[in-house]
């Protein structure tokens, strides 16, 4: 088994579940014969047929609404939205049905469905192909919002998402779709959906991020280690509902926290993390929690998107500030 990229690991997990469970069906635009615009479903139509890997009309509300109906019959639809920026025609379905059906019917109808989509900037794509609006989804009670940052996590978390009894939004950081290769065993082992990954232990400061920004966060931790600053690095993975306990435990140890998020600054997941830590770990904190984020603006188009994206140096500077705070 060769080493896989993140998007290849997504493909592997989809193939595994299609083979394991006849109720699993993929739906989306251009996902069939063409294998999807990022090749996430490459070869699956050929292998599993047009009734398991379905090309839909160009209508996101159709994709999600139809998934709701199928899931209500006990099928396990895995819907693909081509880019996160095109979720909005389906937002009505997500907010008024996907997130609510279990609650609305007091558990009589449940929706074991997954909505996958690539998200995030830095790939020089046109408008609506670069945003990070995970907070819009994370804000809806009834949804789980999961974001892998390595090939192995993409595989294990996508298995878990498909097997979960509730709807899961699965956000794929496309900037790192092909950036890292890793050995991924096709063992069908799901990862837990409700846990953060503490991927580097440290004692001075807790660095928290998710998705593509994990790349910059890891690099910052490396760079800071050379200056003798020990960072604990946490990949949040499930931005809703948050694994608050792991975050609190880490901050109780380090006393400092920097949260890195690509999305705009205000009202995002980083704000929620900071609020939880302020409530639950205030006495452990020896410096203010810092957020390194995108700006509160529309994601600039490709010529200037670099001005928006958080960088390794911005993270390093923030860590230096919390280290120097007294």
């Amino acid at each position: 088994m060769p080493e896989l990229t993140l998007v290849e690991a997504v493909n592997l997990a989809l193939a595994h579940e299609l083979a394991r469970d006849p109720e699993v069906v993929l739906l989306g635009q251009d996902i069939g014969k063409a294998g999807g615009v990022f090749r996430a479903t490459d070869g699956l139509w050929q292998r599993f047929g047009a009734e398991r890997v379905i090309d839909t009309p160009l209508a996101e509300s159709t994709i999600v609404g139809v998934s709701v109906g199928m899931a209500a019959q006990g099928m396990r639809p895995v819907a693909e939205i081509q880019f996160m920026g095109f979720i909005f025609p389906a937002f009505n379905q997500i907010a008024t049905a996907v997130a609510r059906m279990r609650n609305r019917t007091r558990g009589r109808i449940t929706l074991p469905l997954v909505i996958r989509m690539p998200f995030g900037g830095g790939i020089h794509a046109p408008e609506h192909h670069s945003e990070s609006t995970e907070a819009l989804l994370a804000h809806l009670p009834g949804l789980k919002v999961v974001i892998p940052s390595t090939p192995a996590r993409a595989y294990g978390l996508l298995l878990a998402a498909i097997r979960d009894p509730d709807p899961v939004i699965f956000l794929e950081p496309k900037r790192i779709y092909r950036q890292q290769r890793e050995y991924v065993e096709d063992d069908g082992e799901a990862y837990p959906l409700e846990a953060c990954f503490v991927e580097r232990e440290g004692s001075d400061v807790t660095l928290v991020s998710w998705g593509a920004m994990m790349k910059e966060t890891r690099e910052a931790a490396e760079r800071l280690a050379q200056d003798g600053i020990s960072c604990e690095v946490i990949d949040v993975v499930t931005v809703a509902p948050l694994d608050v306990a792991t975050l609190v435990e880490s901050v109780q140890k380090t006393g400092r926290c920097v949260v890195v998020q690509e999305a705009p600054r205000s009202g995002g997941v980083a704000s929620e993390i900071a609020a939880e830590l302020a409530e639950k770990a205030i006495l452990s904190l020896i410096a203010p929690i810092e957020r390194v984020t995108g700006y509160d603006t529309i994601m600039p188009y490709p010529r200037t998107e670099h001005r928006y994206m958080p960088t390794v140096s911005r993270i390093v500077e923030a860590v230096q500030r919390v280290m120097e705070f007294h």
């Binding site: 160009l58 509300s61 192909h129 001005r307």
Partner: protein, 380 residues
């Protein structure tokens, strides 16, 4: 005019008889065939040599422009770009009959109609190079025209909104022209627009660029309908199909529909049948999914050659004039490309300065930070 579709042709009756209460027909409009020969008599005003030479020149320019953009992309100087090759008659034919008082609400594959409308090539280039200023059309008569929308279908209810404003204000002689792809007709926004346009009898013309593909999906993956034009039936107004490779047919249909709208006689849906002779965008490889024979047939029916043949047969165009046009076109494209490539980046604060009429206090520190970072002081 041939009849392209009749209601009920495919549908099987579900019930047990009953009286026939409705019926529909869709007509197909075509004047000039692939060989450049008339199959029907076009409206006399379209036979004006100057007009058709102008149409030809613009179509040729857009064909050359498409190629130029592809080359720029290959050398890393251009972002993702949706080509218009093969669809020039749709864009040029639809934008030509617009008056300055009308409003254009384009879809995203629309360099053709935007150019004819008056957008400069460097504006179109800047937009697709990833510069917001490309949507700030400088031609004064484009003041109310909408920018390129990427979210498929979203422009349609907005176009209905512009038409509603025109209607509520009782403005005679103004209409709205909008466009959508064949794939875009699957969106709820498309059907909602048909509905409101019919219900309110809006001065709106919707052109469907049916180029047979929505990215990798053929039109039959979108709909069971025999024509897309017949979707107007559900809106309660007229839908017609035209040969989208025949500029005479496109222009005649759109001109008549705009006239009707300007007179307060309501909306029209026009399905222009053409073919995407290029890839979906500069980052797509259409050879992976477009059948070769289909592409060959489409190439034989393309819009530019037939207009050229007709102009030549009329003695309007000869080799000398063709060479002169090519030179003029080359110069214009080169100049506009230079202009776009040499446009400096906007200042960093531009990412804040167009968010609101007045920047809220909370955002001033962020604005200061991006300026400081750009200056390299990094002190924010």
């Amino acid at each position: 005019m041939a009849t392209a579709a009749r209601g009920g042709r495919k549908a099987r009756p579900a019930g047990t008889g009953g009286e026939l209460v409705a019926r529909f027909e869709v007509r197909y409009l075509r004047f000039l065939d692939e060989r450049g020969e008339w199959v029907a008599e076009p409206p006399a005003e379209l036979l004006d040599p100057e007009l058709q030479l102008r149409n030809y020149r613009d179509m040729l320019l857009l064909r050359r422009f498409d190629h130029k953009v592809l080359m720029l992309h290959r050398t890393g100087r251009m972002g993702t770009y949706p080509g218009t090759m093969g669809q020039e008659a749709v864009g040029v034919g639809m934008a030509r009959p617009l008056t300055e008082r009308d409003v254009l609400v384009p879809y995203y594959r629309s360099a053709t109609d935007l150019y004819v409308r008056g957008a400069a090539l460097h504006e179109i280039l800047l937009y697709w190079m990833g510069d917001e200023r490309g949507s700030d059309f400088k031609a004064p008569h484009m003041k109310h025209d909408f920018p390129i929308p990427i979210c498929i279908g979203s422009q349609l209810p907005q176009a209905a909104g512009v038409a509603t404003a025109i209607k509520l204000r009782g403005e005679q002689g103004r209409a709205v022209l909008t466009a959508v792809g064949d794939g875009g007709t699957s969106q709820g926004d498309f059907y909602e627009t048909l509905n409101v346009a019919g219900a309110w009898n809006l001065p709106l013309v919707i052109v469907i660029n049916n180029n047979r593909w929505a990215l990798t999906e053929p039109t039959c993956a979108q709909t069971a309908c025999q024509t897309l034009a017949q979707k107007a039936v559900a809106g309660g107004f007229e839908g017609i199909q035209v040969d989208g490779n025949d500029i005479f047919a496109v222009q005649a249909a759109v001109a008549a529909a705009l006239d009707k709208a300007r007179r307060g006689q309501g909306p029209t849906l026009i399905e222009a049948l053409t073919y995407r002779l290029c890839a979906h965008t500069t980052i797509d490889n259409a050879a992976r999914y477009v059948p070769k024979e289909e592409l060959e047939a489409a190439n034989a029916a393309e819009p530019l050659v037939r207009l050229r043949r007709w102009l030549q047969n009329q003695g309007i165009l000869d080799d000398r004039l063709e060479a002169k046009l090519e030179n003029e076109i080359k110069d214009e494209i080169e100049q506009e490309v230079e202009l776009a490539l040499n446009t400096p980046l906007p200042p960093p604060e531009a990412m804040f300065d167009y968010l609101y009429a007045e920047l809220p206090e909370k955002l001033w520190p962020q604005r200061a930070e991006v300026i400081a970072r750009e200056r390299g002081t990094g002190d924010a």
